[in-house]
Amino acid sequence: MTSKTATIYDWVDERLGLSELAAFARHKTVPVHAQSFWYYWGGISLFLFLVQCFTGVLLLVYFRPGAESYESVRQITFVMHFGWLIRSAHAWSANLMMFSILVHMFSVFFMKAYRKPREFGWLSGMALLGLASVFGFSGYLLPMDELSYFATKVGLEIPAAIPLIGPTIANMLRGGPDVSEFTVQRFFALHVVVLPALFLPLLGFHLWLVQKHGNAAPPSEEAKPLSARKTMPFMPNFLRKDLAMWLISLNILALLASVFPWALGKAFDPLAPAPTGIHPEWYFMSPFEMLKLLGAFLPGAVGEIAGILLFTIGIVLWVLIPFYDSTSASGKRGRAAHYFGIVAVALLLATTAIGYWTIR
């Protein structure tokens, strides 16, 4: 460092405490073992979120919510230079982010990284996943093409089925009894103001916790004596690999956005019959299909209520796992939680597959 740079660095350091941060980063390590690969998925999710922020702001320049939303998306896709690319990258990164968050969640679950002292990491992660799903649901409607219109209409029937308060919630989200331009306006506000305002601080909290507690080693690794465990410095070794993963993700995103650019269907027509094969996005397919299957056994309102109840219990049990599987030893409860995870993955995959199979 030249004397001038050193002086500037000292000036900033005195005010922001950069040396402490650098010292912290130098000492931070990441466990190295057979499952280390799964550590990158949180970073990949973060990268894809950043891509969405960037492309989302660009889309915001031309998108006009309300009655003109379809026309503005049509212009972005077919008139603006590389508008289709920005829109495709936005849509594909949203889907890839949902995928990587799910992979991240299940890897955290199976490595039992939710145990003490990482309970808040798990809870904030679950809240981020919930918000990301609402991001997906609200963003899907914005182009207001035939498919997004009918999928949203069907999707909003789920909260409407909640006893007593359901219809009021659904009406509030729709801005009336039907999905219309008012719904787009509301979803737009949700998508670009409310959700980011909730998501960003929560993300900051989540990342701070990761820095504070570091990466958790799986129980099999923790069972080893300290001398047998391998680690690598976070700075710069892990960070470099993280950056390489980001570049690989960028390439996969570029490949998908270019080879399969996001299509735009016909403009919605509320009077037209719903086209065949209307289905929710893939990450909602599993709950959608589970409710559908349950409805086949228990027809009518009973089925709907039972479905929502069962679903709520399942999610609550999943979210609260750190509190009933808290010991670090692989005891009976630890194994039960493991089986719970396997059942959840199997159910998710099976119902998603059945869902896609039955819309063919």
């Binding site: 710069p236 570029a254 270019s258």
Partner: protein
């Protein structure tokens, strides 16, 4: 139209070439770049003053040369011959033109190819058996022969995009081979050669990373570090030169073809309208970032660099190569040989003759005089559309024409037949050639596919009768 048509449903015959060619290019360009990598690495090792380091490098290179031999001399050779079979069946007219024009070029290619095969076998089997200096010389002979194969095949491949005015002047006269050198050193020859040379160097480094990743970083950290770092450096020339070479190549491509590259800037209309632009984007993003991936994963963490990392870099290279070769093929549209032969094998000067006499009358193999319009339409579909379209798979006509009725389909074909200057389709689709009856027959066949008759009506004849 002198040969039978090879009908491949669902994927189309073009993809048979594509699937073989993309892997072949990955390996054949490795054969060229790796051919240079081996003697250069051996020379570097022989100059090392530390005997232990020298021995480690040479041992590693011997192991890499085994991988190189198996991959290039077995898979590369088999897939190369596979391309010959595939292009002969898929594009017999174009292959025939190339053979008539470049028969001596190909003969030279085969000579160098035989030298390559021989020397790489000698190179591998004589490690530690002959004098190191002689062994190195064998490596240089291999490198020379493999570069020569690139120098030759590049002339033929670039000819197909830009045959040049001189060759076009004699095309069809029977004296095409007299302009061999003009055709060979065509307008895109040099930018294409430099581009491919850079890709060859990159692939040499990328494939070498595969074998280097297998070195145990805990047991031999010094060897792994030096080997990985040296291999990554092979990616640098293309990273630096690629943007300039691409601009050079772009400037030598005819304006009509350049227009194809810009078609997809503001739209995602289906099919060829925008595919070249989209593929070009993949090439740019992947080429620009692959060095970053190799830098972070390999250069800065050489001892921890493992096979999964190496495979990630290789897959990115496959993506860039696949997109590059696909774009190059697509950039020729609507021709298979620029300005001379359309992508469906119809020669440009014979259009008026076919329009006067009828497509089937000018075809020796597809037609036997069946009176059914449907059968004639099917035969015309195979000949004129089948090079690029399938009915229900790749670029599916059932889907692309969906929603049109019989009249509408016929009007569309008439538009392709008239091929007016302002038609957007003429940029990448050949004109539909033939008589009015041919247009009606093709419309009948396609209409039966898009709007199939009700099951209880009279069954149409399903295949061209022999």
């Amino acid at each position: 139209m002198n040969y039978p048509f090879w009908d491949i449903p669902h994927i189309g015959s073009g993809w048979v070439i594509g699937m073989i060619a993309i892997f072949h290019v990955m390996i054949s360009q490795f054969a060229v770049g790796g051919g240079l990598y081996l003697p250069m690495a051996e020379r570097k090792a022989l100059k090392m003053s530390n005997a232990e380091e020298r021995a480690d490098w040479l041992k590693q290179l011997a192991s890499h040369s085994k991988f190189f031999l198996v991959l290039t001399a077995v898979f590369g050779t088999v897939s190369g011959v596979g391309i010959w079979f595939a292009i002969g069946l898929t594009h017999p007219e174009a292959t025939s033109t190339l053979i008539h024009n470049f028969v001596f070029g190909w003969a030279m290619e085969w000579v160098f190819f035989m030298v390559e095969l021989t020397t790489i076998a000698v190179y591998y089997y004589t490690w530690d058996r002959i004098d190191p200096k002689l062994h190195l010389k064998v490596g240089w002979v291999y490198a020379g022969a493999s570069i020569a194969t690139l120098v030759i095949i590049n002339g033929i491949l670039s000819f197909m995009l830009t045959p040049g005015d001189t060759w076009i002047g004699v095309a069809g006269t029977g004296h095409e081979a007299s302009k061999f050198w003009n055709a060979f050193f065509n307008p895109t020859y040099w930018p294409s050669l430099f581009l491919r040379s850079c890709v060859c160097a990159s692939l040499a480094g990328i494939w070498a990373l595969i074998t280097a990743s297998r070195i145990d970083g805990d047991k031999q950290p010094a060897l792994k570090t030096s080997m990985v770092k040296w291999s990554v450096k092979w990616l640098v020339p293309s990273f630096v030169a690629m943007p300039f070479l691409m601009i050079w190549y772009y400037s030598m491509v005819p304006a009509s073809q350049r227009a194809l590259l810009t078609l997809g800037i503001d739209t995602i209309n289906s099919g060829t309208f925008s595919v070249v632009t989209r593929m070009a984007l993949i090439i740019i993003v992947t080429s620009a970032t692959i060095v970053g991936v190799a830098y972070f994963l390999a250069y800065r963490n050489p001892t921890e660099f493992n096979l999964s990392h190496a495979l990630s870099v290789l897959l990115l290279a496959l993506m860039a190569t696949g997109a590059g070769e696909y774009s190059r093929e697509m950039l020729r549209k609507p021709f298979v040989i620029g300005r001379w032969m359309y992508s469906n094998g119809v020669r440009v000067p014979s259009v008026s003759k076919v329009n006067a006499n009828g497509y089937l009358a000018e075809s020796n193999w597809v037609w036997n005089g069946s009176p059914s319009g449907y059968s004639r339409g099917e035969a015309i579909f195979r000949g004129e559309c089948g090079s690029c379209h399938t009915l229900d798979g790749y670029r599916p006509l059932r889907q692309l024409l969906a929603g049109r009725d019989r009249t509408n389909i016929e009007n569309f074909i008439v538009m392709l037949h008239e091929n007016k200057a302002d038609s957007p389709y003429r940029r990448f689709m050949p004109p539909m050639v033939g008589t009015k009856q041919d247009v009606a027959d093709l419309a009948e066949f396609l209409n039966a596919q898009v709007n199939p008759p009700a099951p209880n009506s009279t069954k149409a004849v399903l295949t061209a009768q022999k």
